[in-house]
């Protein structure tokens, strides 16, 4: 097939996919019968490249090129559906400015070099930095878009070979509060339920979660469940602005930023007051605790806080909740006492199943751990947990934030099994890695924000990033971009296209993308999804896993990375599985993974575990116990008394508006891929600022006017969007972060949750002026 024919086939496939996504029920049978590519396609399964839902796709390959995408009907996640990003996903491989060769900076200019030369330079510069400044002067920063093998070799290389815990990933910016929420309440990470809960529930409560745009395929399953059960199934939206999810909801309430903490407590207050507690469940499976308060916001360098918890009884917990009557919380949150009581009634009704969904709204929160705890409190009090249709469910933003960052453990404190602080866990990892245990340091070093602060301070001199774009995603960019540009910092970036991060690089390594290499992702519901290499990467582009192996071998770690090129992904996955073996986290064998669109862990005796901690479904639960939260030594989950505390920066006279940032359905994170897909980029070509119509009228701003936003950290011009897809309440605005020409993170604050260390991108104070 010539290039022209190939491009026409790709154009046809793209438009068919767009039409199918845009118009329900449309089909192109005659085109499909003729074969979209004309010459016949080979279809291969793969998970989608984008969000954490993990939709199953079929990619059509013709003459070595990926030319078409359709939903995989065999996928239990998406059942043949795909969203507008997924159905155009193959186009991310073929934009004109794709990196096909390596570049190194010489005399201030990036010049192309053979990749072997660039890898030599990376290895020698890393070694030189270690020799001069010590092991903790080098760092590796990855991603929830890393595959499982990428993250695994990164952990082995940094912790087991070099001997530093300077390993972090961008999932710190999106999922860390979910992790600390799970760990503090249950002692084990990741949801107990699964997507099957959607077809078994009667109530969906969206906590600050615009699922219609961010997890559209799952949201379509929620809508279908309501359509099939008219009058019974309800969708309730709790949010800080009206979104497409709000419009689809049966009930919607806008709350003032940060007051979700108070609302959750008010719901528990009502459940106890109305005697709707499942006391059998609570008495057998729950402990009550309180922790530290006034824990700070991490705004200072070297900020540290340690949690100290204390057991309390149910009476003390009930007394704590007296501060959270619906009337008191109405004043704080702006949500009426009536709405709070109605929400509590949905949770408290013993004959109604309830799912709580959340994602960045609760996680990117300076009290993210607490709000995760508080939503678990509601489900634990009512016993609506670990049962089909009753599920608190933390959704994920990235395709393998769970599979790679959380499960493999590519964070400073983590190991593939356990944490670096635990001697037994270090010994276990060292044994599998065949490295001296003394080489794995027992102390975590820098979480992500502190890692970039350490670059600024000069404690870290060498940084290698893979599959992420921190010069667009870090908050308070005005500090962290100049930090990376300092003369004696050496920045290596592995990526597929130019980004604000490659702009500060000393070396750019061209990466293979998605189906240009084999890999595995792990989605929100503990599902591991393998995909084969379907097409060749362009030029010298190389798989991220193999880039790390090449550098490690150049630094002398050949014994630790013995994997042959032909089978390295399988070999690495099988080595990784040794860390997770057992009834509580056993992974599906490689050969099984290849057969199916995905398999859930714990995978025990050839079976997936759909609901953890419930004896009926989870073979790891002690027989006769009914439920066992086995992450905790006594098998009991924890209900925490966590108070409302205000955000670190709230609107005042000088900066009277709230700023919230986030995504739009058309663009994936920083837009480095989706902005290169014409149909998506034309739909939303630039970032904008959503303004409340009344505020706009008062300030004389009309749709499309240029508006100046200013925070204490930076200023920016954006076009106003009034009555668009989102509508913020008065005195608050929303800006999406996908646009590299409008880096909204120059305005955001680098405050973080003291326990999870996850920054809050949803709340800071700004002023808004007509430009």
């Amino acid at each position: 097939m010539d290039r022209r024919k190939f491009m026409k086939d790709a154009a046809l496939a793209s438009a068919c996919a767009s039409a199918v996504a845009m118009v329900p029920g449309v089909s192109f049978g005659t085109v499909q019968e003729a074969g979209i590519a004309g010459s016949g396609l080979d279809w291969h399964k793969t998970p989608c490249r984008f969000c954490g839902v993990g939709c199953g796709l079929l990619v059509g390959v013709s003459d070595g090129k990926a030319v078409a995408v359709k939903g995989d009907p065999a996928s239990s996640v998406s059942r043949g559906l795909g969203c507008v990003k997924g159905l155009h996903a193959v186009q991310v491989l073929y934009a004109a400015d794709r990196f096909k060769q390596a570049y190194v900076k010489r005399d201030g200019k990036m010049v192309p070099v053979p990749i072997s030369e660039a890898l030599d330079l990376v290895a020698s510069k890393m070694q030189e930095t270690i020799d001069k400044h010590g092991k903790d002067s080098v760092a590796l920063y990855g991603s929830g878009q890393w595959t499982i093998p990428d993250g695994y070799v990164a952990s082995k290389f940094m912790k087991g070979c070099i001997g530093t815990n300077n390993l972090e990933a961008n999932a710190r910016l999106c999922m860390a509060s979910a992790v600390t929420g799970f760990l503090t309440t249950f002692g084990a990470d990741e949801p107990m339920g699964c997507y099957d809960d959607i077809e078994k529930t009667e109530t969906f409560v969206m906590w600050g979660n615009n699922m219609a745009e961010m997890h559209p395929v799952l949201f379509s399953r929620c809508l279908e469940q309501r359509r099939r059960n008219p009058g019974r199934v309800k969708i309730i939206d709790l949010s800080t602005r009206a979104t497409r999810t709000s419009r689809a909801a049966d009930y919607t309430s806008n709350f003032r930023p940060q007051t979700d903490l108070a609302i959750a407590n008010a719901i528990c207050h009502e459940i106890i007051k109305n005697n709707q507690v499942d006391w059998d469940f609570v008495n057998q499976h729950v402990n009550f605790k309180e922790g530290k308060t006034n824990i700070g916001y991490g705004l200072e360098d070297h900020f540290k806080v340690t949690e100290e918890t204390r057991a309390i009884d149910v009476e003390a917990y009930t007394a704590f909740l007296e501060d959270y009557t619906p009337e008191k919380v109405e004043k704080l949150s702006g949500v009426s006492a009536y709405d709070i009581r109605r929400l509590a009634a949905f949770y408290g009704d013993p004959n109604r199943k309830v799912i709580s969904f959340w994602c960045m709204g609760m996680n990117q929160h300076t009290r993210g751990t607490w709000i995760n705890n508080l939503v678990y409190n509601i489900h634990l009090l009512t016993g609506k947990i670990s049962k089909p249709g009753d599920s608190p469910f933390s959704l994920t933003g990235q395709p393998s934030a769970c599979g790679t960052v959380r499960e493999v453990g590519t964070l400073t404190h983590k190991l593939p099994h356990g944490v670096v602080m635990n001697k037994e866990h270090r010994e276990f990892a060292a044994k599998i890695w065949d490295v001296p245990v003394e080489r794995i340091p027992a102390k975590p070093t820098y979480h992500t924000v502190e890692m970039f602060r350490a670059i600024d301070r000069g404690e870290i001199r060498f940084l290698w990033t893979q599959v992420t774009n921190p010069m667009q995603t870090m908050p308070k960019l005005g500090r962290y971009t100049p930090a990376c540009e300092k003369d004696d910092r050496f920045i290596v970036v592995s990526d597929i296209y130019p980004t604000p991060t490659t702009a500060v690089a000393d070396v750019i390594l061209p990466a293979a993308c998605w189906i240009e290499r084999e890999g595995m992702y792990g989605n929100s519901e503990r599902r591991t999804q393998q995909f084969d290499q379907l097409v060749e990467p362009p030029g010298e582009a190389m798989c991220d896993t193999w880039q790390i192996i090449e550098v490690a071998r150049r630094m002398g770690f050949t014994k630790e990375f013995p994997y042959p090129r032909e089978t390295y992904i399988k070999d690495i996955y099988e080595e990784y599985c040794l860390h997770q073996a057992g009834m509580k986290h056993g992974m599906a064998p490689y050969d099984e993974l290849r057969k199916y669109p995905g398999l859930q862990w714990p995978y025990v005796n050839g079976k997936e575990t759909k609901w953890r901690y419930n004896e009926k479904y989870d073979p790891a639960v002690k027989k006769g116990s009914g439920f066992e939260f086995y992450g905790k030594k006594d098998g009991k989950a924890v209900i925490y008394a966590r108070p409302y505390e205000p955000a670190p920066e709230e609107p005042d006279t000088d900066y009277p508006f709230w700023l919230c940032t986030g995504r739009v359905i058309e663009h994936w994170h920083t837009g480095s891929m989706t902005r290169r897909i014409p149909v998506l980029n034309k739909s939303v070509p630039e970032a904008y600022v959503e303004i409340n119509p009344e505020d706009a009228r008062r300030m004389g701003i009309v749709d499309g006017h240029e508006v100046r936003l200013t925070s204490r950290r930076g200023t920016m011009l954006l076009k106003a969007k009034i009555n668009g897809r989102g509508n913020p309440p008065s005195m608050s605005v929303f800006v999406p972060f996908f646009d590299e020409n409008k880096l909204i993170n120059h305005l955001t604050l680098d405050a973080f949750d003291p326990y999870s260390k996850q920054p809050d991108y949803k709340k800071c104070a700004i002023k808004v002026e007509r430009a």
């Binding site: 491009m7 026409k8 154009a11 046809l12 793209s14 438009a15 118009v23 449309v26 192109f28």
Partner: protein, 80 residues
């Protein structure tokens, strides 16, 4: 030599005529959908200028109620 594709919605009652018209237009391949009045259109033009001209024609076609670009391959040197 730009290649583009579009999702085209026909104006009410114009679906059949529009399909025939587009199929007969130089540089256009039209693929009608089944059951809905939606057409997928692939264009293949010799230059960027010609692509622009054709797109202008399509935009001004009364038989089209909505046209949305899905794909564009404009070789290097022909971009804005």
């Amino acid at each position: 030599m730009p290649i583009c594709s579009y999702v085209v919605n026909a104006a009410e009652g114009q679906f059949e005529t529009l399909c025939q018209e587009l199929s007969a237009t130089q540089g256009c391949e039209a693929y009608p959908s089944e059951g809905k009045e939606v057409i997928v259109l692939v264009t293949d033009t010799p230059s960027k200028e010609e692509d622009k001209r054709l797109y202008g024609e399509l935009k001004n076609n009364d038989k089209i109620s909505c046209i949305a670009i899905s794909f564009a391959d404009i070789p290097d040197g022909e971009k804005d």
